[in-house]
């Protein structure tokens, strides 16, 4: 890195001369990198190490223990299943909405965007609590249906897989809509007009022009929702029953209640591994930048 003396002689090193391997701007990234390595990366690596050394000499025993027990494997398949259902629910609700955002006049599109961004940024715990209040046996939905006389006794909505899917898809919907909208708004409306001029019906113009062009957004949104859903903890814990347990709940249980760090960290490594594997497999079809870029508040 340049010494102070050199720096004084060449105040704008990146603009002139041969390209060095480093320039002065680079140093500015250092504090954040050191911070993340110490606070984020090292703890994760230590966790991985612990999964094979706790109890001493564990090796792969913690992992074997996981796959040897049907109950644990069932939690894993259940996690996939719930994540998949939540993704499908988001897709079904989100696609028409993102489409609507691209075709309405700008002012309305802005309002619809706010309707997506407000829940996106409001507390996950509060929203899950709201669903708890809505879905309970004595909750808002059951009271409403009872008062209308549509049902004679409360429906079991909470502590069911359905309850978990409803809550999770509500929370994850913005993550589906935003990447889809980012792709759809870039589709040139002229294509649709050209199709119509050439005699295509609106439906066939949609199916043959808009839908295929919007697929990258669909993939990006689905991937994001699925990956995030895999790691959900709060929502299944409050809205699901014992049979709806997801892997995050199992991890917390092992660490907090059983203090079984070896097994808990092994399952954590498994969850990260699965998440990364899904992302890696999908990275051939989707630009990961599209997936995460639109989910962090820009646009």
């Amino acid at each position: 890195m340049a010494t102070a003396d050199e720096a004084r002689r060449r105040p704008w090193p990146s603009l002139v001369g041969a390209r060095p391997r480093f320039n002065r701007w680079s140093a500015l990234a250092l504090p954040a990198v050191v911070f993340l390595v110490v606070v984020f990366l090292i703890p994760l690596l230590a966790m991985g190490l612990r999964s094979v050394t706790d109890p001493p000499g564990a090796g792969l025993a913690n992992y074997e223990q996981f796959f040897a027990q049907d109950a644990y494997v069932r939690v894993l398949t259940n996690t996939f299943w719930i994540a998949l259902l939540a993704t499908l629910a988001c897709l079904v609700i989100g696609y028409p909405f993102a489409y609507l955002m691209t075709v309405v006049p700008g002012r309305f599109a802005g309002l619809l965007l706010i309707a997506v961004l407000l829940p996106f940024w409001s507390s996950l715990l509060v929203r899950t609590f709201a669903w708890q209040v809505l879905l309970r046996d004595t909750g808002v939905i059951n009271r409403f249906l009872l008062d209308l006389g549509l049902i004679s006794e409360p429906l079991t909505l909470i502590r069911t897989t359905g309850g978990v899917i409803i809550g999770m898809s509500h929370i994850l919907l913005p993550f589906m809509v935003l990447p889809m909208y980012a792709v759809m708004r870039r589709i040139d409306p002229e294509y649709g007009r050209a199709a119509a001029n050439l005699g295509a019906s609106p439906l066939s113009a949609f199916l043959r022009i808009f839908l295929p062009l919007s697929l990258p957004g669909v993939l990006a949104g689905s991937l994001l929702v699925f990956v995030l859903a895999l790691g959900f903890y709060i929502t299944p814990a409050l809205l699901g029953g014992l049979r709806d347990q997801m892997i995050s709940q199992l991890i917390v249980q092992q660490i907090q209640q059983r203090l079984d760090w070896g097994f808990g960290t092994a399952m954590s490594v498994l969850l990260v591994g699965i998440t990364l594997a899904v992302l890696f497999a999908a990275s051939r079809a989707v630009r990961l930048r599209d997936v995460f870029g639109s989910s962090v508040g820009e646009d």
Binding site: L15, A32, R127, Q132, R193, P202, I234, T265, S268
Partner: protein, 265 residues
């Protein structure tokens, strides 16, 4: 495609849109009127009108210290994440160094790794470092979660800014520091403020990492709420929820104002 629409399809789409907006907003907002109930249990529609649950929230020591702790953690997180993140954005978007893609990936990975895993990883080491269950530990943890939001926002501002302005400043004799504080920083300020606001919200609402990083002596508002909602719930929780929502929404409105002030680029 919009001009080839026929009327019924339009009505159908509008109805679907309205329904989705309702689905997005209504379930959360149902909490707000319930927090003003006179009844001793959560009910909808609420009975009567009173501020008693807000009073309870302010006077109950657990809740009120929770609010203070949450505000402290969120402000410190926003400060630390904004400084580290803004510097990092400058380094990443203008720097040239080996391993840039590693740095890029590292700064975004707190978004990708499941938060339960992050919580457990940090908790394991923070206990050994003796900062678990303290303000310092939680601020460090939340800063890691918030950094990606700052970096994405500031980097976007940097990418859209016209660097000829800096060249002009240099030609007119400004040294790099002067040019940074007088030219670059004012231009990217909306992105920096957006990053600060998102960091604050990230910390303010965060519960999973906080569950591990707090203790009976030091609890934040969401953790206190998490402890309560798993037991019998009284309407105080609705008042707390409303408080959490109001703070977040106010900050998002502030963000809209900040973005509107941004110079046209």
């Amino acid at each position: 495609m919009s001009d080839s629409w026929r009327q019924p399809r339009r009505v159908l789409m509008a109805a679907l849109g309205a329904l989705t907006v309702f689905y997005l907003l209504a379930p959360t907002l149902v909490i707000v009127p319930m927090s003003f109930t006179e009844a001793r249990i959560l009910s909808f529609p609420p009975e009567g009108f009173s501020f008693q649950w807000y009073q309870r929230m302010w006077t109950d020591r657990q809740w009120s210290t929770g609010i203070v702790n949450s505000l402290q953690v969120a402000v410190l997180t926003a400060l630390l994440a904004t400084v580290l993140g803004t510097l990092a954005s400058l380094g990443i978007s203008r720097g040239r160094f080996p391993g840039r893609s590693f740095v890029n990936g590292l700064t975004l990975s707190p978004l990708i790794v499941p938060v339960v895993v992050i919580a457990i990883g940090m908790f394991g080491l923070f206990v050994q470092w003796r900062i678990a269950g303290s303000l310092v530990g939680l601020v460090l943890a939340h800063t890691a979660l918030a950094l990606p939001f700052v970096i994405v926002n500031v980097s976007t501002s940097l990418q859209t800014m016209d660097r000829n302005l800096e060249l002009a400043a240099a030609n007119l004799g400004a040294d790099p520091r002067r040019s940074f504080f007088h030219i670059t920083l004012p231009i990217i300020l909306p992105g920096v403020l957006a990053g600060a606001i998102f960091s604050f919200i990230t910390s303010w609402d965060e519960v999973v990492v906080a569950i591990f990083m707090t203790s009976a002596r030091f609890r934040t508002l969401p953790v206190e709420m998490w402890e309560q909602v798993r037991q019998a719930v009284d309407p105080t929780v609705a008042a707390v929820s409303t408080t959490l929502l109001v703070v977040t929404t106010a900050l998002l409105l502030l963000l809209v104002v900040v973005r509107r002030q941004a110079p046209a680029q």
